[in-house]
Amino acid sequence: MSEPQGSKLIRTLLDFDRFTADDVRAILNTTDVMAQVLERPVKKVPALQGFTVATLFYEDSTRTRLSFERAARAQSADVMTFSKGGSSVSKGESLRDTVATLEALAVDAFVVRHPSAGAAHQVASWTDKAVINAGDGRRAHPTQALLDVATYERSVDAPVEGRKLVIVGDVAHSRVARSNAALWRLLGADVTVCGPPTLMPQHGGLPEGVTVETRLDRALDGAHAVMALRLQQERMHEARFASPAAYAEQYQITEARLAGAQDDVKVLHPGPMNRGVEIDGRLADGPQSLVTQQVAMGLPVRMAVLYHLLVGKGGSA
């Protein structure tokens, strides 16, 4: 059996616009190996020895930041942390200046989370080092989508190709939804997004072939995987829906609502969950739920991404 091989040198993971299915398969294949490393007595390899990874978090997300930092250290890379409130990020220094400063400190990879869409693209335009988008505004969160695919495929021991993913909730404001829709489509899955009309994208903008549906029962028909998105309370104040209860009444994912889905349907949630709002708590804890596995998959996925972006022709360490 031959392993999938990426088609080109990849230095950035900003979104999946320039990725082929083979590029993604190469990373997912390495993810398997990284997961194996994490099961061993010595959960560390020297693969990225001599590399330095900087995390630039302009939005609070300790969980994602720690996941990237652990992924770097598990491969023996050094880590520098720049997070909001903790460093010069809070002192009004511009993103561009921070990147220039870190480049001068011989950083090899930037992991960027920022409230503004395109911030990681901007960083990539200022540096030739590796750049990973760890979430930019509502645009993209590619490592989350990779870990969601990896989690699902591992749970059913089959590729997502030909299967149906349904993403339910605030799709319009969700980078998780956008990246998952892009990635599952890229890998040959069917994707339907579902939620209130006020939380659906208004002008297309979703990847080609994604179905938009506002009726949950129709959306869930034949689904292999259902992803519930976190409902932000602030959207209520933006007049997008009447109340969390009213939202739950129509869009909460429950055992009963999954009746029309496949027998082996899996339930995903990017976390943190509002139990009783977008997802029924019992379902989240039940056998169909992959929520815990998703969290665990973050580490090997991010290890694989760092490895692929840093190693290869032109690797500088």
Binding site: S94, G118, A119, G205
Partner: protein, 427 residues
């Protein structure tokens, strides 16, 4: 002006403006006015105008000169000199400074300071409400007495319709122009670019055309109601044009302008996440650019307002949410439109000149620019023959960067006179 202007002859130059064409002449300037044509010497200064066009200096009803308060972006001296370099002889400065230009002393202060600056003439606007807060009306009569030529809260839409109505009632009585930045604040929301397929693709918050169109409708309605001369700043989309067109057909006292960027760039320019082209109202689609171009060529749009909006490079190099809105463009506005509209044959040079001269003069209710002897010698010499590259480092504006950097354009101003004095000469 400190020194007496010199008697100047501009030889062998094609003299024309938006309405007249005098052919190739030697133009003579003295005592701050056009003395006449093909007159005898002696002359203090002689300029070879062969192959060039001499025309009335341009009028810009919409510039941000940033003084007082934001001199790091631009000040009166740099802004008025940049305007002269762009061929402008008169500019109307916006009031969104710090402090806001909302009292007569500030208007007088600006005028005094500008009088010593060798550049375009300053005709300041004053704010429509105190502090641009949209609540209490400024003293329109006193502001006009001090020299303000326009009332506007530009930069911020006037959210309260009754405030807008009452301001227009004052303005109608005084004969002042009210200029409006027409966008519905709640519909605009936190949008940083045009809402549409591109904003969805880029994941950036969108600002829909309808936010502009509904506010343009309100402002036109209030113009019709009060009889005030209401000038709609920076129209950007087909919907807003349709509204303006309809009200004009009803005889409402409404005028509108379009910016050079909205005639030349689309929302696709934001695809590289470069905040350089982040403006408000936002760049729209190719369809809107075409609609604007048709209306501009047809004269349904009265004039160009550059909305010259300088910022520092550091400010414009932030992320897409944090970077401020605006492009500094006054030095490239005319050649950019020569290149975009005249060179390909979309409109004549004379029609374009009209939108920079008679158009804005009509909007402001000023005397029509004229080339008759005795008219003010606010003139610009243009080179339509040779292309020249946009080189932002040569800008006189403090904002030395441009979305059009590297573009080869025809129609650059070569020399500008204000009141018969040469205030700009291209090196």
């Amino acid at each position: 002006m400190t020194t007496q202007p010199l008697r100047t002859a501009i030889r062998g130059v094609h003299v024309m403006n938006g309405t007249e064409d005098l052919g190739v002449r030697t133009a003579v300037l003295s005592d701050g006015r056009i003395e006449g044509y093909d007159l005898d010497g002696p002359f203090d200064v002689e300029v070879d105008g062969s192959g060039l066009v001499l025309t009335n200096a341009f009028i810009d009803p919409h510039v941000h000169l940033r003084e007082p308060g934001f001199e790091v972006k631009e000040d009166l001296a740099s802004g008025l000199r940049a305007a002269a370099a762009g061929g402008f002889g008169t500019v109307v400065s916006m009031a969104n400074t710090d402090p806001v230009i909302d009292n007569p002393e500030q208007v007088r202060g600006l005028l005094e300071k500008a009088a010593d600056i060798p550049g375009a003439r300053l005709r300041p606007a004053a704010s429509l409400t105190f502090g641009l807060k949209g609540e209490r009306l400024t003293d329109a009569a006193a502001l006009q007495e001090a020299g303000a030529v326009m009332l506007t809260d530009d930069g911020i839409p006037v959210a309260d319709s009754d405030v807008m109505r009452r301001a227009c009632e004052w303005a109608a009585d005084l004969g002042l122009v009210v200029q409006t930045h027409s966008e519905d604040p709640s519909l605009r929301g936190a949008g940083v670019m045009n809402e549409g397929a591109v904003s969805e693709r880029l994941g950036l918050p969108g600002n829909p055309r309808e936010a502009e169109a509904v506010m343009v409708f309100r402002d036109c309605q209030i113009a019709a109601m009060t009889g005030a001369r209401v000038h709609i700043a920076h129209v950007t989309c087909r919907q807003a044009l349709d509204v303006v067109r309809w009200f004009k057909a009803q005889g409402a006292p409404v005028t509108c302008e379009v910016t050079p960027q909205h005639l030349t760039l689309t929302d696709e320019a934001l695809a590289a996440f470069d905040p350089m082209v982040k403006v408000a109202p936002p760049l729209r689609t190719a369809g809107d650019v075409e609609a604007l171009t048709e209306a501009f060529v047809a004269g349904e749009v009265d004039c160009i307002g550059t909305d010259h909006a300088p910022h520092t490079l550091d400010e414009k190099r932030q992320d897409m949410l944090s970077a401020p809105f605006g492009i500094a463009n006054i030095e490239v506005a005319f050649p950019l439109l020569v290149e975009t509209l005249v060179q390909p044959g979309r409109m004549t040079l004379q029609a374009l000149l009209h939108r920079f001269q008679h158009g804005p003069a009509d909007v402001m209710g000023w005397d029509a620019p004229s080339l008759e002897p005795g008219s003010p010698a606010d003139l610009v010499l243009l080179n339509l023959n040779d292309a020249r590259t946009v080189e932002p480092h040569t800008f006189l504006s403090k904002a030395k960067f441009s979305p059009w950097e590297g573009d080869a354009l025809h129609g650059w101003p070569v020399q500008t006179w204000v009141g018969g004095r040469s205030v700009f000469e291209r090196g």
